[in-house]
């Protein structure tokens, strides 16, 4: 039975909804706050900011991460910047415009009220980060500098060289460490979350594995926040870190939390192309490069193998500038990626594999000088040089789209609560505010908005509302913990036992999964391809269950961790195929070849698909159930998303 989901959006005009929420929320008095404990899993931007902020309020916070240190979370790798509607450049920006750009950028598949709140919070985030000592880029005047990102015609992106994510994360991390020092946060590093524990219908704890000792542990609390990132690693090759994975949110999904829009994946247009079949990780070249770099391929196929500097301007096709004159090289990511795929499919791709396009700085260097370009992008150019052994100051970069971010995730209501009471999801882990396509420099904004400025209110409201129940403390000896731990142990034991008999390594099966998902649930999706994907993933699941080769013990064993994650990614891959199959329209990053305009742009079907798809897990090998949340647009008119 499919149900209609209620997002719990507060009453009132769009600009007052969040104020109304805060005006009507339940509070917890300061002396009572220390009686509540909150588990926060993940220490990226959303997790670290949530844990620090909740601790500052007075709650007892337990913070979990898989690394040795909270500072290693993958937010650290975000390069380009963070959006905020500060309008310092006086170029026409406003909360409304950031809201509008984000809704439009997401191809009208995000919730208005959430996105508006995000835009409202954006300005406070910059103030917050500056107060932490985040060294944002500045002008000679001493004021903060801004640059542009895709999908916007204003300069609202704040940055710290090409290491914005690092600096924002270290800011949140330092605030977290301050609370650890005060004794308000207890750190649990080296822990992987393997289950959520539900007691009397409420999330009351988690089961973790200490990855260095193999110990399985139980942790109780009064609310649980999952800020464990996205699931781009289902593609095997992506810009995500080696340890990024879906396991925490997938285990919550298995316990009953609905999974929203799993097929919404962001494929970033500017990554260093794949070379060889040994790679485990792809590297992003920041979108900010498109402020100065021009994207092109040769007009003629026969020029593709030539030295690019020998190709005269009239033989170059600056296809983004040609197709999208008003946004040019800063067309949004989904559109730029698809355009790159198109020209490569036409046989005009460059590089050895023919799966690359040029990102050329020749004109910018001529205009502004090499020093200016070095100042802006030096670390990115160095990174490119190291990886490819080519000097991008001399010859254009070769780039190609790669998986970068997932817009889907656990379905949450306006308070960021999943369908499991007391279980919240923040940052990339939730299905979020980005609809079917995220704009550049908006992930950092959303993670920090969730953690600093939303969860401290909504978790408080939850604790205040359920005070009577929650003040009855749950003990880790409760039967629910007992059985959850038993299941976790059994699964690990089974993998280790089966692993003695099989022939296929985790990496081999994982690579195969990645290829299926990339080929069939990637930049172009068709009914036939998606059906094939389902069948092929089922076969890989069988391989995993019967033919896995796993060596080593239950102590520190990266391969065992990977096996557990792969198990979940296989199930997720199947769900993505189903979701993509059911969404018989194109929107944002989800491009169904059956649904396109005559000029090859995504063709939405608002009548039938202006909704969030939220999937219910029905057991291993069972067909999941698709639920819906209708998206209501009261402030923005649904229109064709054009960047021409």
């Amino acid at each position: 039975m499919s149900i209609e989901l209620n997002p719990g959006i507060p009453e009132g005009p769009l600009s007052q909804k969040w104020d109304n929420y805060k005006a009507n929320m339940k509070l917890v008095n300061p002396a009572n706050k220390r009686k509540y404990s909150v588990i926060v899993v993940g220490t990226g931007l959303a997790g670290a900011s949530a844990a620090a902020s909740l601790a500052e309020l007075g709650y007892e916070v337990k913070s979990f991460c898989t690394h040795d240190s909270a500072r290693r979370a993958h937010s650290i790798a975000a390069q380009g910047g963070i959006n905020a509607a500060k309008s310092y450049p006086n170029d026409g920006d406003s909360v409304w415009r950031l809201f509008y750009d984000t809704i439009k950028g997401g191809d009208y598949r995000a919730r208005e009220a959430n996105v508006y709140r995000l835009a409202q919070n954006s300005t406070s985030i910059i103030d917050q980060c500056v107060s932490q000592g985040v060294p944002f880029a500045r002008e000679y005047s001493g004021e903060l500098a801004n640059r542009s990102f895709g999908g916007a015609q204003v300069s609202r992106t704040f940055y710290a060289r090409g290491q914005t994510g690092q600096q924002l994360l270290l800011g949140a991390y330092s605030q977290l460490m301050k609370e650890v020092d005060k004794g308000k946060v207890t750190l649990f590093p080296y822990r992987e979350m393997l289950d959520v524990v539900m007691v009397d219908g409420k999330a009351r704890g988690i089961i973790t594995r200490n990855v260095t000792t193999g110990e399985i542990e139980r942790h109780a609390a009064d609310a649980v926040v999952l800020a464990t990132g996205g699931y781009g690693r289902v593609y095997f090759l992506s810009t995500n870190a080696m340890n990024s994975n879906v396991t925490a949110i997938w285990r919550a999904h298995r316990r009953g939390a609905l999974f929203g829009n799993p097929c919404y994946v962001q494929i970033h247009p500017t990554c260093i192309p794949v070379s060889g079949n040994y790679q485990a990780k792809l590297t992003l070249m920041s979108e900010s490069l498109r402020n100065d770099g021009r994207v092109w391929v040769p007009k003629k196929k026969e020029d593709c193998k030539k030295d690019p500097s020998s190709i005269p301007d009239e033989d170059r096709d600056y296809y983004l500038e040609r197709k999208y004159p008003s946004f040019g090289n800063l067309a949004p990511r989904d559109i730029s990626s698809r355009a790159a795929k198109e020209v490569c499919d036409e046989g005009r791709g460059v590089g050895e594999s023919g799966l690359a396009v040029y990102l050329d700085f020749r004109d910018a260097i001529k205009r502004d000088g090499e020093a200016a370009i070095r100042e802006r992008y030096g670390n990115l150019f160095d990174m490119y040089h190291e990886i490819t052994n080519e000097n991008p100051y001399r010859s254009p970069m070769r780039i190609y789209p790669a998986v970068h971010y997932t817009m889907g995730g656990l379905w949450v209501d306006y308070s960021l609560q999943t369908t499991l009471p007391g279980l919240f999801a923040a940052g990339e882990a939730n299905f979020s505010d980005h609809g079917a396509n995220r704009l550049g420099a908006s992930a950092l904004m959303q993670g920090l908005s969730d953690g600093y400025f939303i969860l401290p209110y909504t978790v408080t409201n939850y604790l205040g509302t359920h005070a009577q129940d929650l003040l009855k403390k749950v003990d880790v000896n409760h039967a629910a913990f007992e059985s959850a731990e038993k299941e976790v142990r059994a699964e690990i034991d089974r993998m280790l036992e089966n692993g003695k008999k099989g022939k296929r390594t985790v990496t081999e099966i994982y690579r195969d999964l990645g290829k299926v998902v990339w080929d069939k649930i990637g930049m172009a999706r068709s009914e036939q391809g998606l059906k094939e994907a389902l069948a092929e993933i089922e076969k890989l699941q069988k391989d995993f269950d019967t033919d896995l080769l796993l060596t080593g013990d239950s102590k520190l064993n990266k391969n065992l961790e990977m096996a557990g994650r792969l198990r979940d990614l296989l199930e997720l891959g199947a769900l993505m195929a189903r979701d993509a199959l059911e969404r018989k329209e194109s929107c944002g990053g989800h491009f169904r070849v059956e649904s396109q305009t005559p000029d090859g742009e995504a063709q939405r079907d608002d009548e039938n698909f202006a909704h969030v798809a939220a999937w219910e897990y029905k057991g291993k090998g069972q067909v999941p159930v698709r639920h819906q949340e209708k998206l209501v647009y009261e402030n923005v008119k649904l229109s064709v998303r054009s960047y021409k």
Partner: protein, 269 residues
């Protein structure tokens, strides 16, 4: 245009450190790898090695990595006797096999420092760095409304210098490279960043005293200006930061108001 090395391969011999647990005796294990593509990264080469080890039924080699683009600070190998290997200004994950020659024997060890005990094989426990951060590596700002971000102007060169120090990725190569296993470069980078910025002034003295004291407590050695840390640092953090830290420490330790404050419950100043 196309890198000439595209499909060039080399054969190598590896001597890798194996150690079952913190307490166990470690040893070097030898492996041969044939047909290694020179455009592979060093860690991809180790991935290939691990597939080979797993296929032979043995326990894979444990080493850490995460972002594989030089920013998370997770990877941490001593390659050919050098922290992060022979290439300057790069992490282990940014090391490419084109750095090595055909037939070369490559020795791979973990960070070696008392404060970074080995957990298994090439994985060490670097949580001591977190404890140094906890002691004062923050401004004390809480979540909530703050003055507008442009309310305090920060000269560009100051912001740039703060950013130079803030670029530290906390990998620990400075410690691994230092004959004294000193964490001075790491600690001083944070001290300097916050000492330069107006936002770091309120607890400036408390910060440097507590962070330096914690560094000593963790068992890191002292700095004797050997400059190995700067040479090994993948982010080229300057040892000038250490000079600034020493200055900051002296100033704080000599400040009468601060000494008086140290006696109070919250650490004062």
């Amino acid at each position: 245009m196309m890198s000439a090395s595209q499909s060039k391969t080399i054969n190598i011999r590896l001597r890798v450190w194996r150690q079952e647990s913190r307490e166990a005796q470690g040893f070097f294990e030898e492996h041969e790898l044939k047909g290694v593509l020179v455009d592979m990264s060093f860690l991809e080469m180790l991935d290939v090695l691990n597939e080979q080890i797993i296929k032979s039924g043995k326990r894979p080699l444990e080493f850490e990595s995460d972002c594989r683009e030089g920013i998370c600070g997770t990877c941490s190998l001593v390659v050919q006797g050098q922290a992060h290997g022979p290439v300057r200004g790069a992490t282990t994950c940014q090391l490419y096999m084109r750095t090595f020659t055909d037939g070369e024997t490559i020795t791979i060890e973990p960070w070696r420092a008392k404060a970074f005990p080995v957990i298994r094989d090439l994985v060490t426990d670097r949580r001591a760095f977190d404890r140094i951060q906890m002691a004062g590596g923050y401004t004390g700002a809480k979540t909530g409304p703050h003055a507008d971000a442009n309310a305090i102007l920060i000269p560009k060169d100051l912001a740039d210098r703060a950013m130079d120090a803030a670029a530290c990725i906390g990998c620990g190569a400075c410690v691994a490279a230092c004959p004294n296993a000193s964490a001075s470069l790491f600690t001083s980078a944070k001290v300097t960043q916050l000492a330069l910025l107006p936002q770091g002034q309120a607890d400036r003295k408390r910060r440097v005293i507590r962070m330096v004291d914690q560094m000593d407590k963790e068992g890191f050695g002292s700095c004797s200006n050997l400059q190995e840390c700067e040479a090994a640092c993948p982010k080229k953090i300057s040892i000038q930061n250490i000079a600034i830290m020493k200055q900051e420490y002296l100033k704080a330790a000599l400040a009468a108001d601060f000494r008086a404050g140290m006696g109070s419950a919250d650490g004062g100043a």
